[in-house]
């Protein structure tokens, strides 16, 4: 190791500078180990530790440098903020990653950077670190690369071919917010690399989209079947006729290349006055247009003095962030669309109840759902019934009808679900009228909600936070 004290100092400064980024997942791509290389990657990802704030550590999340040319109002690393500054060298970073990885501390590297000099100069250095890792050290673990807005297409391409996942952060959910708080960044500089990443993945047939099979954000498989040729061949991009086998081989070969774990982004919550409607419809369009794997939300932590932002020390909108994640889950795994969850009449999520219960209360006409007959899509909309429960219900239905006791054992949250289902024609939620159901459910979830409130910093459902 070069100079331990210097490395320690840089590690401290650049970890502190990177910690507000939320994404730390090492998931989305399965890669077997290879002889002569170190590491592998698993589709589900691996969490290696959890910090005192309850967030998981999966990757070594760190900045290459926090010497920034920009002066974005919301950012701790802005030029005018008086903090310690440090910059790694590509070699130091590679050694740190390799040694941490070997000891099973981490699943890989999540490298981001302040814009020191220009976006391209910064990306060039990051690229060098990735190259050392992949080519010289034989690192076969996970790499997540953050791309600075305004990076040139050539560099985006080079980084994408070394990393598993790439992301360009949007941060502020509206143009006005961006102009006000980050005047050095323009929307074009953010959207262009995003579009390029999506385009490259589309060309290599590796766009996967977000969520599971119930999600509405999975790309439609374009497989024009040529029936007159016996249905066994496809027309390739160039118009050539290729067989199944050739097509699959071509896809497989490509899939290993550019950002196999896809693209993500992040939005800051609570730094601007944007409503949940605005945030969720933006994430909806990001999923639809760019086939993002994930859109992350980051509750703004007021650590800076600025007349344009919530005062330093004011509460962090953790509960709102939590509700937005729940809404995001509904969109990715439960087949909901953004406009079902929030609309012009209800532009913000209900902070007291989770969005699935809120939706159910607004749509009494949809319920009750008969457990032994309803389709998967309908079952998924029942509060207290999750993806695993639905799969189990569907499987058991093929051999035996379900009774209410079975549901409890399967893992359904019965005290919530019983108001929204019938089991073999019988309704178990008698005694609570629809008008009072909301209060009833609120009272019930009191325990859960309180523990969430008590354990975190003070949370107030204030509009301004």
């Amino acid at each position: 190791m070069t100079d331990r004290n210097a490395t320690m100092e840089k590690l401290r400064v650049l970890t502190d500078a990177a910690k507000y980024d939320v994404s730390c997942s090492s998931s989305g791509h399965e890669r077997k180990g290879q002889d002569g290389r170190l590491g592998s990657s698993s589709r589900a990802g691996v969490c290696h530790s959890w910090t005192a704030d309850g967030r998981c550590i999966s990757l070594l999340k760190i900045l290459y440098s926090n010497r920034c040319a920009y002066d974005c109002e919301y950012c701790v690393n802005r030029r005018s903020n008086d903090v310690e500054r440090a910059t790694f060298t590509p070699d130091e970073l590679a050694e740190l990653t390799m040694e941490f990885y070997r000891r099973n501390y981490i699943e890989g590297l999540f490298l981001s950077s302040a814009v020191s000099g220009s976006p391209d100069a910064t990306s060039e250095q990051m690229c060098k670190a990735f190259q050392i890792l992949r080519e010289r050290e034989g690192f076969w673990g996970y790499i997540h690369a953050k791309i600075a807005p305004g990076t040139s297409p050539e560099l985006v391409d080079r980084i994408g071919r070394l990393a598993d996942r790439v992301s360009v952060n949007i941060e502020l959910p509206s143009k006005e917010g961006l102009a006000l708080l980050a005047p050095a960044k323009n929307p074009d500089g953010i959207l262009k690399p995003m579009g390029q990443i999506t385009q490259t993945m589309a060309e290599q047939h590796s766009l996967a989209g977000a969520g599971n099979k119930y999600s509405r954000y999975r790309p439609v498989q374009r497989t024009p079947l040529l029936e007159d040729e016996g249905g066994s061949a496809y027309r390739s991009e160039k118009g050539d006729i290729v067989t199944h086998r050739q097509r699959d081989a071509a896809r497989f070969e490509h899939r290993e290349r550019f950002a196999p774990a896809g693209q993500t982004t992040q939005l800051i919550i609570g730094a601007t006055a944007d409503s949940d409607l605005r945030i969720l419809s933006l994430s909806h369009s990001l999923y639809k247009r760019f086939y993002m794997r994930r859109v992350f939300f980051s509750a703004y932590v007021p650590v800076l003095d600025s007349p344009l932002l919530p005062a330093r020390g004011s509460s962090v909108p953790l509960l709102r962030e939590h509700r937005l994640y729940q809404a995001d889950w509904l969109m990715r795994f439960y087949g909901f669309t953004a406009d079902e969850i929030v609309d012009e009449a209800h532009p913000d999520l209900d902070l007291e109840l989770d969005p699935k219960v809120s939706w159910a209360l607004r749509h009494p006409e949809f319920f009750p759902v008969e457990i032994n007959e309803a389709c998967a899509e309908a079952l998924l909309r029942v509060p207290g019934v999750g993806n695993v429960s639905v799969q189990r219900i569907l499987r058991q239905r093929t051999v035996a009808a379900l009774r209410s006791d079975d549901l409890k054992r399967i893992g359904v949250v019965w005290k919530r679900a019983k108001y929204f289902v019938t089991v073999g024609g019988k309704y178990y939620g008698r005694g609570v009228r629809h008008e009072t159901l909301r209060d009833h459910l609120l009272l019930q979830s009191g325990g859960v909600q309180m523990s969430f409130l008590e354990s975190g910093p003070l949370l107030l459902p204030g509009q301004d936070s």
């Binding site: 002569g36 691996v46 969490c47 290696h48 005192a52 499987r395 379900l402």
Partner: protein, 252 residues
């Protein structure tokens, strides 16, 4: 009849065989487990690989391969009364066939799901929470060593993951609770007994990496969002003793 066996899965399968061909089992206990008062006669069942094989094949054929895996995983959970749970499950499976895989709501199957979940969850946690240290070695290549204290017997469940991760590095994973260790090199491994007082000799440079990791752990937390209850749900305290980082540490 109360049966005792040698504590291996094969031994348990032989008890299932005895349940059918000798006498119904009321209780199955590992030998040497003397804490329970007992009024009925106890019979020790010798482990016979051939009988065990017959029972295993029977489960695969009459129920499914999944059922055999499920029974085995439940066995690894180390729960005290799991032997009879497995017996009930296997014979329920014999009576209704492979449909038993789909009966998620049935109490007997539910019990299997619970035990399987316990094993799978601990294996998943330890894939992340296990920490290697480099030992002093005469050869150029360092030897990686990790010690764990799992509730379930998950050593062999962990191995495919780590063999895949370390294709070149030789490594040892030591289960202190069961006093055995998996020795792996070049894509193969072997499980052998290893006393729990084994004291590894770490390489000189090891401390520096540990210090760097501890510093990283502390600085990665956002002070304004501290939520230890949430952290402890993901990382229960019983796993802390084998970690490098100290979850109680605060920023200086």
């Amino acid at each position: 009849m109360e049966y005792t066996y040698d504590g291996t899965f094969d031994g348990l399968l032989c008890c299932l065989w005895a349940h059918v061909y000798i006498e119904k089992a009321d209780e199955i206990l590992p030998a040497g487990c003397a804490d329970q008062m007992s009024f009925s006669a106890r019979t020790f069942i010798e482990t016979d690989a051939e009988k065990a094989e017959r029972v295993a094949c029977g489960i695969e054929k009459k129920i499914s391969g999944y059922a055999l895996r499920r029974a085995y995983r439940a066995f690894l959970s180390g729960e005290p009364a799991r032997e009879m749970d497995i017996l009930h499950y296997v014979f329920f499976g014999f009576s209704i066939g492979r449909d038993v895989d789909k009966m998620h709501g049935h109490p007997i199957c539910r019990r299997m799901d619970v035990l399987n979940h316990k094993v799978a969850r601990e294996a998943e946690r330890l894939r992340g929470l296990l920490r290697f240290g480099a030992l002093e070695s005469a050869e150029g290549r360092p030897l990686l060593y990790a010690h764990i204290t799992p509730d379930c017997d998950i050593l062999q469940i962990l191995m495919p993951h780590f063999l895949n991760r370390y294709r070149q590095e030789p490594f040892v994973i030591h289960d202190l609770n069961r006093e055995k260790a998996a020795f792996a090199a070049a894509g193969r491994y072997e499980i052998r007994p290893l006393a729990k007082d084994y004291a590894p000799g770490y390489a000189k440079s090891e401390q520096a990496w540990k210090d760097l990791w501890r510093a990283y752990y502390v600085h990665a937390a956002i002070p304004e969002r501290i939520n230890e209850a949430c952290r402890n749900r993901f990382m229960p305290e019983r796993y802390w003793k084998n970690l490098v980082e100290d979850p109680n540490a605060r920023r200086p």
